[in-house]
Structure formats: structure tokens, C-alpha cells
């Protein structure tokens, strides 16, 4: 059952190419109203124009900066919070209602509030992304640390591991798979929240650009910009999977993935 990965990847793109050809054929035959759905050829021309012009690159960079900053802050604070919650019953009792409440809140509800506080621009977007990423990181880290088998902690303590070393050598290491699960969820949230807040309260970024083209009836450019968003999100997700696969290569889940 071993297949060449390149051939495998090629086989997987065939349905996409088929779909594109079908779409193009239907547009050319006049089955699709191109005013509402431009043909792939028109979109490709617009895409080439966008990529050549640099406008799309600048706006994607702005969006990635907002999403990335929020994700980074959310991940750092979330891991710390999750760790503290797992290690101290009292701390957990204090923050659980607040974490639980914010966890269930649809985070995009806070965008208008942040817009009220911080005005229109990057700070609003970063705050929204930060909060959206904080919660999955906290909850996943917490679960990973809290589920550390007692045998591991006892063995480490019996071997004379200090409290400080316990954190990095036992708790965080045991929680690492869960932390990466949280990171992947947070990565998805970071794009959604960054783009949402750009659509609601911003004058730049890829979300604003997509909306701008839509409002001005430049639908071929709108679809081209959306294609860029899909490509960037897809590549970031794959990169995250690759990083987590590499960091967890010692873990038993990696062995399962290899045989599957």
C-alpha cells in the first residue's frame, strides 16, 4: 500500500482540476451567469493582476501580522493560565467562572466593544484574535497537564526532580500534544477573528479588501482575493501540522500516523 507521496498529491488534485474545468465549461456555455460567478479564467487574470500589483501582498501581510500577534500573545498567556489552573485548586476556583464564561461567548461579539475602546484598526483586531486564541489554549493546556499520570509525577519526584524542572520535564511535556491541538484550533480562530474584525472595523487588511471589491462590484477581483485567503490559510494550517508532527515525533500518536 506504499505510494509515492508526489503521485498521491497529484491524484488528490485531479478532482479540483475537474471541478475547475467543469466550472469553466459551464461559464463558457452560458450556463452560469458570469455577473454572479466569474469564470475561472477571468478570476485567474484578476489574480495575476492582484499578485503583480502588490496591494494584495500588503493587505495579507497586515492581516497575518494581526492574526500572528494575537495568536502568539494568546498562546503564551493561555499556556500559563492552563498550567496555573491545573496546578492550583484555589487559582482554578477563582478563574473557572471567568474562563468558562468567556469560553462560551461568541468572541466576535466583542469586536464592536473593542472598536468602541480602541477605535478602528490593528489594536481592535489583535485584541479580538488574542481573546479568541486564549481560551482554546487555556482549556487544552489545562486538560493536558491535569491528565498527567500520577506514576510519571511520582517517578520524577522519587528521582529527585525539582518543582521547577517538573514543569518543563513532566507537565508541559505531557501536555504538548494537547497544546498543539489547541494551537491548531487557535490558528483557525485567529484568521476568522482577524478577517471578521477587518470587515467590521478596519480600513485595511485582506478582510476589508475582499469586502471593498464586493461593494464595488469587482467580483472577479473579490474571488481572486478570496482565493488568496484560502491559499494562505491552507498553507499556515499545513505548516502548523508539520511543526507539530516534528515536535511530537517522539510521541505515540506519531507512530500511529506513520503506520496509517
Amino acid at each position: 500500500m506504499r505510494r509515492d507521496p508526489l503521485a498521491h498529491a497529484l491524484i488528490r488534485t485531479v478532482p479540483l482540476l475537474l471541478l475547475g474545468m467543469l466550472w469553466q465549461a459551464a461559464s463558457s456555455a452560458g450556463l452560469i451567469n458570469t455577473a454572479f460567478l466569474p469564470s475561472p479564467a477571468t478570476i485567474s487574470v484578476a489574480l495575476a493582476d492582484l499578485l503583480g500589483g502588490g496591494e494584495i501582498g500588503r493587505n495579507i501581510f497586515i492581516t497575518l501580522f494581526r492574526a500572528g500577534t494575537g495568536l502568539l500573545l494568546g498562546a503564551v498567556c493561555g499556556i500559563w493560565l492552563g498550567l496555573m489552573m491545573a496546578r492550583s485548586l484555589k487559582f482554578r476556583a477563582w478563574v473557572t467562572p471567568i474562563v468558562g464564561g468567556t469560553y462560551s461567548l461568541p468572541k466576535s461579539a466583542l469586536i464592536p466593544l473593542f472598536a468602541l475602546w480602541f477605535g478602528i484598526g490593528s489594536l481592535t483586531a489583535i485584541c479580538a484574535v488574542y481573546l479568541a486564541c486564549l481560551l482554546p489554549m487555556t482549556v487544552n493546556t489545562f486538560q493536558g497537564v491535569v491528565s498527567t499520570p500520577k506514576v510519571l509525577t511520582w517517578s520524577a519526584q522519587a528521582l529527585g526532580t525539582s518543582e521547577r524542572q517538573m514543569l518543563s520535564r513532566i507537565y508541559l511535556r505531557h501536555a504538548l500534544p494537547d497544546i498543539f491541538t489547541g494551537l491548531r484550533i487557535a490558528l483557525g480562530f485567529s484568521f476568522v477573528l482577524a478577517i471578521s474584525s477587518e470587515m467590521i472595523a478596519s480600513s485595511s487588511g485582506i478582510g476589508k479588501l475582499v469586502f471593498f471589491y464586493g461593494e464595488n462590484g469587482a467580483y472577479d477581483y473579490m474571488f481572486a482575493a478570496i482565493a488568496c485567503v484560502i491559499a494562505v490559510a491552507f498553507l499556515c494550517d499545513r505548516a502548523m501540522l508539520a511543526v507539530s508532527g516534528w515536535c511530537l515525533r517522539w510521541h505515540e500518536s506519531a507512530a500511529n500516523a506513520r503506520t496509517a
Partner: protein, 260 residues
């Protein structure tokens, strides 16, 4: 470790007291910060003012109609995503051709931020409920497909073989063995999709208008009616918590058999 039941009861009560205290403390800090004019009332209205506003929008029925509209959109979209996603996931698990056709689309669609498609849905389906319902369905369908597919693939072979040896037909196998075996994991994915449905609905309403919680929230923010903004966020928080509790109760009641 060997605390007597009585002591453990006291401890649990102490922890619950801390949780209650943390929420009360937060409200007191909020109220006193607003009362002492630390921030202008436009940025931070006092909790009592927000509570009064909450009472007003409940009394005049505007909250109820917004809430009903938003929940109708979220749940119709979620139901649509559930129906399509379970069907497609099952087909992917049972047929290699369907898997080959759909898998690349899912691989690309899953990580993409679906909110970026909002201008497309507005273009095709207008700014009323239809575009929002379909966007919610589009956002929720990918996790459901993936969840159903992996659940159906994970059904134990012994179950399938036993059913066959007892003379179960292909059709009955699907409806009486495989689908029920997948219920817990399908439910788990619907649980993931529920907050996605809420977030997508609220965000789409904020961006495109057309009534609902999100639209009112953004209008209030634009006219600097801060108490209304805060009141709506509190309601969204409450909805999130309530639905979360309902899902937990449902799982305990109907899916208790699946717990290992």
C-alpha cells in the same frame, strides 16, 4: 489524600465560594471603576446602568425578536450542515470514489476562514436570512463531514462482521449498526459546530446587517449607545453558557451508554 468526606465537603464549598467571589469581585470592580469615572461612561457604563438597559430591551421586546431571528439562522444553518455533513461523511467512508472526489475539497475547505466568503453569499443570496443560514451551513459542514467520516471509519470490524454473519443487509448495516455506532462522535462534532454557528451568525449580522443580535450590536456601537452594546454582549454570553449547559445535559441523558 485521606480527607474524610466531611472535610472534602467543606473544601468543595470553599472552592465554590471562591468561584462565586471571583464573579462578584469582577462586578464590583466594574461598577466602582465606572462610578468613580476612571473611564468615560461611553467607554465603560456602570453595571447597574447596563442591567437597567437589559431590563428595558427585555420589556420592549426588541431583544426577544433579535434573539429569535439570530437563533433561527444559527440553528437552521446548523441543521442543514448536520444533514449534509453526515450524509457526505457516511458516503466518503463507504465509497472510495466519493472519498477521492470530496476529500481534496474538504482538505482545502476545512482550514479556510469561511467568513471571508460572506461577500459571495451576500452577492448570491441577498442580505436577508438566506445568505446567513447558508453561510452558517457552509462554515459548519466541514467539521461535521470530517467527524462523521472518521467515526464511520473507526467502527469496530467485529461489529460489522457480527451483523453480517447474523444476516444483516447492507442497508440495515448502515442504519442499525454503523450510524448508531457513530452517534457519540457525530454528537461531539455537532458540539464543536454549535459555537461556530453562533459566531458565524453574529459576525454575518454585524457585517451585513439585516437584523438580529449582531446587527443591533453594531448599530448601537456606531451610535455610541454603550449600555446597549454591553447588554447585548451579556446576553450573548448567557446564550453561550445556556447552550453549553443544554448540550452537556443532552449528552448525559442520551449518550451515557457511550461513556467508557
Amino acid at each position: 489524600m485521606t480527607a474524610r468526606p466531611h472535610e472534602e465537603g467543606v473544601k468543595a464549598a470553599g472552592l465554590r465560594l471562591r468561584s462565586l467571589a471571583s464573579v462578584m469581585l469582577l462586578l464590583v470592580i466594574w461598577e466602582s471603576a465606572a462610578r468613580s469615572q476612571l473611564a468615560p461612561p461611553v467607554l465603560l457604563p456602570a453595571f447597574t446602568v447596563v442591567a437597567a438597559e437589559l431590563g428595558r430591551i427585555i420589556a420592549d421586546g426588541s431583544l426577544a425578536s433579535d434573539l429569535a431571528l439570530s437563533l433561527y439562522r444559527a440553528f437552521t444553518g446548523l441543521a442543514l450542515a448536520g444533514a449534509c455533513g453526515i450524509l457526505l461523511g457516511m458516503l466518503m467512508a463507504r465509497s472510495r470514489v466519493v472519498h477521492w472526489l470530496i476529500d481534496p475539497l474538504v482538505a482545502i475547505g476545512f482550514p479556510s476562514p469561511k467568513i471571508a466568503f460572506l461577500p459571495v453569499f451576500i452577492l448570491w443570496f441577498g442580505i436577508e436570512s438566506l445568505s446567513k443560514i447558508l453561510l452558517v451551513a457552509f462554515a459548519c459542514v466541514f467539521p461535521v463531514i470530517i467527524g462523521t467520516y472518521s467515526a464511520a471509519r473507526a467502527v469496530h470490524r467485529v461489529l460489522v462482521w457480527s451483523a453480517f454473519s447474523l444476516g444483516t443487509t447492507q442497508h440495515a448495516l448502515l442504519t442499525r449498526v454503523i450510524l448508531p455506532a457513530c452517534y457519540p462522535r457525530i454528537f461531539a462534532t455537532l458540539r464543536i459546530a454549535l459555537p461556530v454557528a453562533l459566531i458565524t451568525t453574529f459576525t454575518a449580522e454585524m457585517v451585513a446587517g439585516g437584523g438580529g443580535m449582531g446587527a443591533t450590536l453594531v448599530y448601537s456601537q456606531r451610535f455610541f449607545e454603550s449600555p446597549t452594546v454591553f447588554a447585548y454582549i451579556l446576553v450573548m454570553l448567557g446564550i453561550g453558557l445556556l447552550l453549553d449547559a443544554a448540550v452537556h445535559a443532552f449528552a448525559r441523558r442520551y449518550l451515557a451508554w457511550a461513556e467508557e
